[in-house]
């Protein structure tokens, strides 16, 4: 059972970067996630990355091998939703401290040098406060309204079911539409670029309209499901928010495995 008290590191968002960090330092890290889903920035956003990158760390290679064995990853293409059970299993087996369905309310400096942060959050147990020494915010939007917008693009993706024609578009078109193949021949992902302030109802209607007007090569497809997270593109950089508190959105990595490796490397190098 998860215990709550004082932690060396708090990771915000159950992203692949946070998972990498927690995998490398399971004793030290608590992860808070507002939704019920691991890898929201990839599996929840139906974002398959920019073309798979081979994993570089031993833990990343193990994950990559598992994804290949389960037919979730092949030839650089993902069946992205199936990351979810793999990651639940990983969290459970490794005994990682994750609190899903938990909202971060506020983060306040503890006062004094190196006194860390007091973080208030809310979940089914109610209002709780913990003390942490470092914070890695891996969320795409920045948790608790604390991080200013630095993303360069916002997109809503849908998973498509059905076979695309041979001349299906391979990359972004002028209309802000992007299309990416999935792991299986009847699986692909269809994304629409959105204005910064587009809300969920409008985004969904715009995506539906774009799909209705889809290129002829995608006519044989139907919408399998729409994403429950927007995908935000970020410049690939760590941004300090305050002392010992950085924002590194996991969605800034080109690929799920790269994001996972990024967390492990962070634990091994900068935050060793």
């Amino acid at each position: 059972m998860t215990r709550i008290d004082e932690y060396p590191i708090l990771a915000l968002g159950a992203t692949l970067t946070a998972l990498g960090l927690a995998t490398a330092r399971p004793e030290d890290i608590l992860v808070l996630e507002s939704s019920g889903c691991p890898a929201p920035e990839f599996a929840g956003a139906f974002y398959v990355g920019e073309g798979a990158v081979a994993a570089g760390t031993p833990q990343g290679i193990a994950l990559e091998n598992e994804l290949k064995e389960r037919d979730i990853l092949a030839d650089g293409h993902y069946h992205i939703p199936a990351l979810i059970p793999v990651l639940y299993q990983h969290i459970k087996n490794a005994g990682l401290r994750f609190l899903f369905w938990t909202d971060t309310l506020s983060i306040k400096a503890g006062g004094g040098a190196d006194s860390g942060y007091e973080v208030d959050f809310f979940n089914a147990s109610g209002h709780q406060r913990i003390k942490v020494h470092k914070i890695l915010d891996t969320t795409s939007a920045g948790a608790a309204g604390t991080v200013s917008r630095r993303w360069t693009e916002k997109r809503l993706w849908a998973m498509l079911h059905g076979c695309a024609g041979a001349d299906a578009p391979a990359s972004a078109t002028a209309a802000g539409i992007d299309w990416k193949p999935g792991r299986f021949s009847n699986e692909s992902y269809f994304g629409l670029r959105l204005d910064a302030d587009t809300n969920w109802p409008d985004a969904r209607q715009l995506l539906l309209d774009a799909w209705r007007k889809r290129p002829a090569a995608l006519k044989g497809t139907r919408i399998a499901a729409m994403a429950t997270e927007f995908h935000y593109s970020y410049p690939r950089e760590f941004v300090p928010v305050a002392a010992d508190w950085i924002h590194r959105p996991s969605s800034s990595y080109a690929d799920p495995l790269a994001a996972f490796d990024g967390g492990i490397t962070l634990a091994a190098e900068e935050w060793a």
């Binding site: 609190l99 089914a124 147990s125 209002h127 079911h161 969920w200």
Partner: protein, 614 residues
């Protein structure tokens, strides 16, 4: 004014405040699931200024994000039907076929209706505090992607399913069943495309999760999510999503102006002022019926009535938290007891619940009167107009029972004896002498079923036949229920235990120690022994010795096998903890807890453990 919040380990805490509200709405609905979505749309359509808040980024709750893409019984009628029609059209155009309704199409249709009616939507948001003046709710503190906000309202509706907002407000509630504090099991439902069709998988059931324990809630999500792991995924079996909602069937159940209880309902106590009806069976997904209440065991075990549908009229008072104003509930956290909550929770009824609540709220706000003072006749007339309140209703239990002695006798002879057993229970003294007479040939079906009926009347004349059923390990399973029928042996164990019959102690202990006894038989024998020992002090030493021999054995093994699933859950600690509690009450020393590692409990075992510690 004061701000009420829910603080871990302390419960409800209030502090005086002077809030600066950013806006005022007539109606704020927290949770936009089956009930909340329809409440929001109804409120907006009736001209209220409305704000809908949900943790997710979509409407529809269990029926959309939760992947529950079908209606289970219920009575048709209400504003949701037009939305379903629209969802069908969207599904037809855009989504793969499959299911009764398409979850994605449905949430699009709900959203279209809400936005069209002028409702404001606040997704990925959650209420964390409630502003009150005395016992009247005035507004909410909530967390949105933009940060914390304070917003005023004239009526707040808690439609979070788990009753989280009522919890924050300080409304009274119950959680779980009396024996162990455990609610119904949850199922973390995934959605797939299988062979080209959209499908969800209600794999029944992961375990039990306490809706007021954030760590267990989270562990439950993780545990349930592992069930969707496959050796290989394929073109013909593609996962779409999992874990958008945790899949809890039961959380807080509030105490209302009127709280509906199964035992009252079965005694014929029903409102004549319904605002909607449920029509379903006692659809429990609990696998250990031996630890349910007497009423549930009478119904499920003795009458074997899993699957007998009945209609339940629900009054407005079941959605008004007792002692509070300016707040109502809609959805499965309404005021029912744990027993009845297993029936009164299905999607059609929950949607109608949302409609009834918002209609009442709108009428009361428009008249500027408390919702409690609303004329029932006026409200009912409005609800009849949309058919939320139907003209004709499927039968109650009473209406399905045989009335005369010959019909009851014929029923007791049949493979479907449930209605006859229940009718005899209801008739009591009127039929008792016939039941006594039918006991004469104890190895015949009518005698055995008559003994069950007499057992329900606590009539000691049933005992010789009940003992015989137990001694002979009667293998009979009736066909009274739709799917899950209870063994006559379990019914006899339950009744003998309830009547504290010390003559069955040896047989019950033998059943427990027999490795061939399946878990239901083991559990009923265990439960009978606890009850007999509880009421007959002279039996305690013998019972405690048996329990200790069986449960303290290092190789003792019992797992909870799921009715319709491929999974087993260890249960050894559950029995050890439950037995330890009883032996402690009897002041009999034991070493049962030496074999329990609190760090290695299943979620169900942890629930019992926590219940006992409290």
């Amino acid at each position: 004014m004061k701000l009420s919040t829910w603080i871990a380990e302390r419960g409800v805490v209030t502090e005086p405040v002077e809030p600066q509200f950013d806006t005022t709405y007539d109606l704020i609905v927290a949770g936009l699931g089956s009930a909340g979505a329809i409440a929001l749309i109804t409120g907006a359509q009736r001209g209220l200024t409305t704000l809908g808040i949900d943790k997710l980024c979509m409407m529809g709750g269990s029926g959309t994000a939760g992947g529950i893409a079908s209606y289970y019984w219920g009575v048709g009628g209400g504003v949701y039907e037009a939305i379903d029609t629209r969802a069908e059209a969207i599904a037809e155009e855009c989504f793969p076929p499959g299911g009764k309704f398409h979850p994605e199409a449905r949430h699009l249709a709900l959203e279209e209706a809400a936005v069209g009616a002028g409702a404001e939507l606040a997704y990925t948001s959650r209420i964390v505090g409630v502003f009150m003046e005395g016992t009247r709710v005035r507004g909410i503190r909530w967390i949105s992607p933009a940060g914390i906000r304070d917003t005023a309202c004239r009526m707040l509706v808690d439609a979070t399913g788990d009753g989280e907002v009522c919890g924050i407000t300080g409304c009274a509630f119950i959680h779980g069943r009396e024996f162990d504090g455990i609610p119904q099991p949850y199922s973390h439902v995934p959605c797939w495309i299988k062979d080209g069709r959209h499908t969800s998988q209600n794999f029944d059931a992961a375990s039990t999760v306490c809706a007021i324990d954030g760590a267990q809630y989270s562990d439950g999500i993780v545990h349930g999510g592992t069930y969707h792991l496959r050796d290989k995924y394929s073109e013909t079996e593609k996962l779409l999503y999992a874990g958008r909602l945790p899949g809890l069937r039961e959380g807080r159940l509030i105490t209302g102006d009127t709280t509906l209880r199964l035992r009252d309902y079965l005694a014929g106590e029903m409102t004549d002022r319904p605002v909607f009806y449920e029509y379903a069976n006692l659809d429990t997904h609990t696998q250990d019926w031996a630890f349910e209440s007497d009423t549930v065991q009478e119904w499920l075990t003795v009458a074997s009535f899993w699957g007998l549908n009945f209609s339940v009229p629900v009054p407005l008072g079941a959605m008004i938290p007792k002692g509070f104003e300016g707040i109502m509930t809609a959805g499965r956290c309404l005021a029912v007891d744990h027993d009845l909550s297993q029936a009164v929770r299905m999607q059609r009824a929950m949607q109608q619940c949302g409609e009834a609540v918002a209609t009442a709220a709108a009428m009361a706000l428009q008249k500027n009167i408390p919702v409690r003072e609303l004329s029932y006749e006026e409200l009912a007339a409005e609800l009849r107009r949309t058919r939320c309140l139907p003209e004709s209703v499927p039968p109650t239990v009473e209406e399905q029972l045989p009335a005369d002695v010959d019909a009851i006798r014929a029923g007791l002879e049949s493979d479907n004896p449930g209605t006859a057993i229940w009718a005899a229970r209801q008739q009591g003294d009127t039929i008792r002498r016939h039941l006594h007479a039918w006991l004469e040939s104890p190895d015949t079906a009518p005698a055995r079923n008559a003994a069950l009926a007499l057992g329900l009347l606590n009539d000691p004349e049933a005992l010789p036949v009940l003992r015989r059923i137990i001694r002979q390990r009667d293998p009979y399973i009736p066909e009274s229920g739709r799917k899950l029928n209870a063994r006559r042996l379990c019914a006899a164990l339950y009744l003998a235990g309830r009547m504290s019959d010390s003559a069955v102690v040896d047989d019950a202990a033998t059943l427990m120690s027999d490795p061939e006894s399946e878990l239901d038989i083991f559990s009923y024998a265990f439960s009978a022994l606890l009850r007999i020992g509880g009421n007959q002090p002279e039996t305690r030493t013998a019972i405690a010795n048996s329990l200790r021999t069986i449960l303290e054995a290092p190789d003792f093994q019992r797992s909870l096998s799921k009715h319709r699933s491929r999974f087993n859950e260890p249960s050894e600690a559950y029995f050890r903890i439950a037995a330890a509690r009883e032996l402690d009450r009897w002041n009999i020393p034991h070493a049962l807890m030496d074999r329990v590692d609190p760090a290695k409990l299943t979620m169900r075992e942890a629930g019992l453990y926590r219940h006992i510690k409290q």
